[in-house]
């Protein structure tokens, strides 16, 4: 596997597309899966993923570890994540700056954290624990958020920079999450990206979002159910031009389109990476 191949664009792997991908072997760089969908004992999920893995590099994206839970990460979950990582040997393992489990109850969403020194110590400890168990560096993704808390002590970009320095983790820059959070909290996404610690970024995510209007106010919601907005493409181009290339993923998780529609977005991301990085995608 060449380094060039890993600096290419990839797609989230959906069950709807598996058979087509195995037959047509489309020209995309890699695939990403949610770790939690592969924690069963057997059956079609593992059957198909093993075959896809034999053809493409794979990234494992965890959505349930709950590294921001004050009472400890989801019980037993790090071991399950390790089993998936050991079995499929991904080139990237990532998780979220969020929490989802409280006192054994799993709230199926990526819930927000107050950015304080106390939260930073907690999250850094959990990331360290995860990296020790998994035996490799993980990337932590900037979240999309809908609310902020009283008494926060630092901006998200400072929190992420300090987390990466303290724990040695890398970062997953989700450009769509930046746009969603910026709209919801009234900041400039370009200013956020100017402050972002790009030196720690090991992967980029792009996805679509919804805009919910009510009483003259809009909330952006991170839905992953449509094409990527022109604003997200434009910011992605800027990041790549100014900060260099990273493996880039198109996420499309609900109202999943025909494979060719998803592949078109992967190719669009690929052409942006190539323009900036001078990579020849066909050479990989």
């Amino acid at each position: 596997m060449t380094a060039d191949r890993l600096l290419r664009a990839g797609a989230g792997l959906k069950p709807e597309h598996q058979r087509h991908i195995l037959e047509a072997r489309p020209d995309v760089g890699w695939f990403e899966v949610h770790a939690e969908n592969y924690m069963g004992a057997g059956g079609p999920p593992h059957h198909f993923l093993e075959r896809v893995r034999a053809l493409y590099p794979l990234s494992v994206h965890g959505v349930g570890l709950s590294i921001g839970s004050a009472n400890g990460m989801a019980p037993g979950h790090l071991g399950r994540l390790k089993s998936v990582v050991d079995r499929y040997q991904p080139f990237i393992v990532s998780e979220h700056l969020a929490w989802s489990t409280h006192e054994g109850t799993f709230l199926n969403d990526l819930l927000p954290l107050p950015y304080t020194e106390a939260t930073l110590s907690l999250v850094a400890r959990h990331v360290d624990e995860a990296q020790t168990v998994l035996g490799s560096r993980i990337l932590i993704e900037n979240p999309s958020t809908y609310l902020r808390f009283d008494g926060e002590e630092m901006p998200e970009t400072d929190f992420l920079r300090a987390l990466a320095r303290r724990s040695g983790c890398g970062l997953l820059l989700d450009v769509n999450n930046v746009v969603v959070s910026a709209a919801n909290h009234g900041f400039d996404p370009r200013a956020y990206l100017d402050c972002f610690p790009h030196e720690h970024v090991g992967e980029i995510h792009l996805a679509g979002h919804a805009v919910l209007e009510s009483d003259g106010d809009a909330l952006y919601v991170d839905t992953h159910d449509r094409t990527i907005s022109t604003e997200v493409w434009s910011l992605f181009r800027d990041v790549i031009a100014r900060r260099g290339v990273s493996p880039t993923l198109i996420e499309w998780d609900s109202d999943v389109p025909a494979w060719l529609d998803l592949e078109a977005e992967v190719h669009q991301a690929q052409s942006i990476l190539q323009t900036a990085g001078g990579l020849d995608a066909r050479a990989a």
């Binding site: 989802s100 109850t105 107050p114 609310l147 009283d150 008494g151 106010d217 919601v221």
Partner: protein, 265 residues
């Protein structure tokens, strides 16, 4: 885990947040900024909706026939009650919904569909079979190869994906017509009980009717009882039990993985 310096604030916040996400009335927890529009009720509402809508959608995907029988709107309302009473206990969402069938037994608004819990059991078994461990099914020809005197003492190993759901209602017929037919057939005049056999010999999950008494045979086999004694028990408990038909169904569906001799139990 060692005590966290200043960690209690976050634990308290998450406790309030988790409670407010799940409970029915919208009550925004303390500690959330409220000096910015949109209102914090709308902002917090996004998380509540994400959690509840995603879990309700997961249940609908797992129990499509239950949803078809009660209608989408009723199903969603029912799912929200279930989610509030039985939130997931694991981030592996594939494990969510095991308690749905027994919840339906106690759910009064659905009491006029008394077969609903057994339909939910059938659908849950299909879902579990999809994710369960892989194993190779044994061919019935393996039985024929045994000398006749060895048949009674053979032990049959059951496939890890296999499940049996016995019901006083015709659950296989109801499930089948609501899965495969554009317009569900009306219930047959002889509204008699059926026993469902769920298997997954390879990638596809199969559902079929088990002949009378075969569920008793399976229950005996599952305990490691040899075929002869298991068949005797099924015959004693059920007059119409026919061993040849039962074995043809079980092997044909890929429910049996191993044949072994020995007197381990």
């Amino acid at each position: 885990m060692p005590a966290q310096p200043d960690g209690n604030g976050l634990a308290d916040l998450q406790h309030r947040f988790a409670h407010a996400v799940l409970q029915a009335p919208l009550e925004v927890p303390d500690g959330i900024r409220h000096d910015v529009r949109p209102t914090r009720e709308r902002r917090f509402g996004v998380y509540r909706n994400n959690v509840k809508a995603s879990l309700a959608a997961a249940l609908a995907a797992r129990f499509p026939v239950v949803e078809r029988l009660v209608g989408e709107e009723f199903f969603t309302a029912m799912a929200l009650v279930f989610i509030e009473q039985h939130p997931p206990r694991s981030p592996v969402l594939a494990e969510y919904g095991a308690a749905f069938a027994s919840f339906l037994e106690e759910f009064d608004p659905a009491a006029d569909l008394p077969y609903l819990p057994d339909i939910a059991r059938l659908e849950w078994s299909r879902y579990v079979a999809f994710h369960s461990a892989d194993a190779s099914a044994a061919d019935i020809g393996r039985l024929a190869e045994l000398p006749p005197e060895a048949l009674g003492s053979v032990r049959l190993g059951l496939h890890p994906a296999m499940a049996v759901i016995a019901s006083p209602w015709p659950i296989v017929s109801v499930w089948s017509t609501n899965t495969h037919d554009a317009t569900p057939e009306a219930p047959a005049a002889d509204w008699t009980g059926e026993t469902a056999l769920v298997t997954r010999p390879h990638l596809d999950v199969l559902v079929q009717r088990l002949p009378p008494g075969a569920d008793l045979l399976v229950a005996e086999l599952a305990q490691g009882i040899a075929l002869g004694a298991a068949a005797d028990a099924a015959s004693r408990a059920h007059d119409g039990f026919d061993l040849a038909t039962a074995l043809a169904t079980l092997f044909g569906a890929g429910a049996i993985t191993t044949l072994s001799q020995g007197s381990s139990s």
